[in-house]
Symmetry: C2
């Protein structure tokens, strides 16, 4: 018999899925170029040549069993060593290979990190706006999500609400900065204050509270700003990373967990994640992809397109009267829906062939997400549609 | 705090792991060539060139976002279509792409199939000898494994015991044929009888009992024998496949689930598995690996080495006095440990630099597994050590 819990989910068609279907049928009518699809977070800038060269080199290896053979459950040792060395060099950390667990993208990283440190029944705190898949990752680990409401004016943390909600039941706190969907990066002040509160809470409740830092957008920052390395500021930090955005390879599902060497039980966490993978059927990521990323750890795609798109859209949207927090990075921005109903705005936008995702699933129903990982030429052509939309609503 | 359930597992070091450590330290002393490691099931025959050529072709694609971009959660449509067409052509099935769910190897396939059709608390039947990871897959889905004892004389099914144990609590039955660790294939009679009993039980208990058929060794059969396509003989069949063995690419973690079109809720099962993957952090397998296997669906590595190794070992071991069911395929055989204690035999064998896995974890403590995915030359050199071992014990 089909398991009811999962089959019931099928009837709930997601907003993004609805937009996708609309976009496809409109593309058939008016051509793909005339549909302004800002709904999908699929990197659009080219994959670095060096990544493909690495893949080809390994595909050419004479002894294929070395390349295509089983990876150890925790990841290929040389790959883990290379990642630790790169993080140490860039961020002054002191990881060894034993602190790195190779995963199939950030999804695998987050799911394993949560299962490792959050006993079933404990709470996991998340700050709105947040990536909606955090909820199944948390409930899949048997835990309860506690959503801290957003600080709308700048999408930093509302510490008053956070402190109110932080109780003994909390085993982990998840952050995602630079953020999907807001594009905002937590400032150093925000991170430091967060870490101070968590340190106090650990003492007060006499148990560790792990900070799970989801950082797939770490390399996509505008105007030369840099994101502090959270793990340096709080011992019980578990960094979850994916190469999806930095190398434009989201389909290759490759990422890792990096456990801070000073974290409680640091030396056990990675082996424990290995045990967890036996239950989820996850296993380690593909060998050839592990080997290829290890040769491209400090390479990124050319991200300047995203910055240019952000500028164009931010300038025009604010000129038109939309209120929006300026993105610090990523390829998202998260303006307010005038009137506060983003579902209605998303419907209205469809009439102008603009696909915009309502903020409801991100925990902010009054905002909408624009994913501007599209060609700049298309962004410019879309401004006319944004103008028409603005005329209707202001 | 580290989750106790998983961290407790770390103290239980597996028999295979112990052998691995012993093998490594002996290799340092006497050289790798002189350690006869029959413990690991890592394919040793070359990866077909055509697979590597496909990989390189896709790595060379001009628009990398087409190759390295997100795959849909259920898998790339063209890949699923190609797999359905190949299965239909080879086995007279009538799958469509909608019946195929792409997974990271057989592990991902089994974990998702179980979660889809087995409500937490139901039982899942497994026949000894069995792949030990079935237990965490089953308990990870919240279910209870029911192990049917082996029929030692031929490793077919003990139907008397099976029928006794098959009760209303059973939601699924798992089979693995050709089998790891026995190398034995279920005969057509065995499969037909199993299906008949399951059909009767479905009527008696008024709920479906899914047959989860784990078939990674389908292509490794000796003497031209062929394994019947189980799905043709029982409607509620879910086939779990991995390309690990047929293409010698276990590290690339690529496989699929194929739901029989006549199965109960056939049209919902694949979408349900998509929902399940949101909770496990599994996601779809890497795009470039999906695309490359789709071009190599009916290609296999040269498996004749395994057949040759099987013959050499079977002839010599039975000549020496070991009792062993002749393997039909795979790269395993599963002789009896004289005296019935396979742990003791494995210890004894180490003295002759033979690494043999005790059958305890496979549910048959009186047998031991030989994995002969090694060079034939090494198999021949190992016979002397088997001879010395036999002299000691007979």
């Amino acid at each position: 018999m089909l398991v009811k819990y999962y089959s019931d989910m099928l009837s709930k068609k997601s907003a993004i899925r609805n937009l996708f279907d609309f976009g496809r049928s409109r593309a058939e009518e008016i051509g793909k170029d005339n549909v302004f699809d800002f709904s999908i977070g699929n990197p659009s800038v080219p994959v670095p040549d060096s990544f493909n060269e690495s893949l080809k080199k390994f595909a050419d290896y004479k002894d294929g069993t070395l390349v295509h053979g089983y990876s150890p459950t925790l990841g290929i040792q040389s790959v883990k060593e290379a990642i630790a060395a790169s993080l140490n060099r860039r961020f002054g950390e002191d990881y060894t290979a034993d602190h790195i667990f190779m995963t199939t993208g950030a999804a695998g990283a987050l799911a394993h990190a949560l299962r490792a440190v959050c006993e079933a029944g404990s709470s996991v705190m998340v700050f709105a706006p947040f990536f909606p898949e955090y909820v199944p990752y948390i409930t899949g680990a048997g835990c309860i999500p506690k959503i801290v409401p957003p600080r709308m004016e700048d999408f930093q943390i509302d510490f008053e609400k956070f402190s109110e909600m932080l109780d003994e039941s909390v085993s982990a706190v998840m952050i995602n900065s630079p953020n999907n969907p807001s594009g905002v990066m937590y400032s150093e002040d925000t991170i430091k204050k967060l870490c101070a509160i968590l340190s106090d809470a650990e003492k007060k409740f006499s148990h560790p509270i792990y900070l799970i830092s989801d950082e797939p957008y770490r390399e996509i920052l505008f105007g030369g700003i840099r994101y502090p390395y959270v793990s340096k500021l709080y011992d019980d930090t578990i960094v979850c990373y994916s190469f999806s955005k930095s190398l434009s390879i989201p389909g290759e599902r490759i990422g890792y967990v990096a456990v801070d060497p000073r974290a409680k039980d640091a030396e056990l966490l990675v082996p424990v994640m290995g045990q967890i993978s036996r239950f989820t059927g996850h296993n380690c990521p593909p060998s050839i992809i592990q080997l290829a990323v290890a040769e491209n750890l400090e390479v990124t795609s050319d991200m300047s397109v995203y910055e240019r798109n952000a500028e164009i859209l931010y300038e025009e949207l604010t000129r038109l009267g939309f209120r929006c927090v300026r993105p610090d990075g990523t390829f998202y921005m998260f303006p307010e829906a005038p009137g506060g109903n983003s579902e209605e705005l998303s419907e209205r936008a469809k009439k102008h062939d603009l696909l915009l995702v309502p903020g409801t699933t991100f925990g902010c129903p009054g905002n909408f997400r624009i994913s501007y990982c599209v060609e700049t030429e298309k962004v410019i052509r879309s401004l006319d549609s944004f103008g028409k939309l603005a005329k209707e609503i202001f």
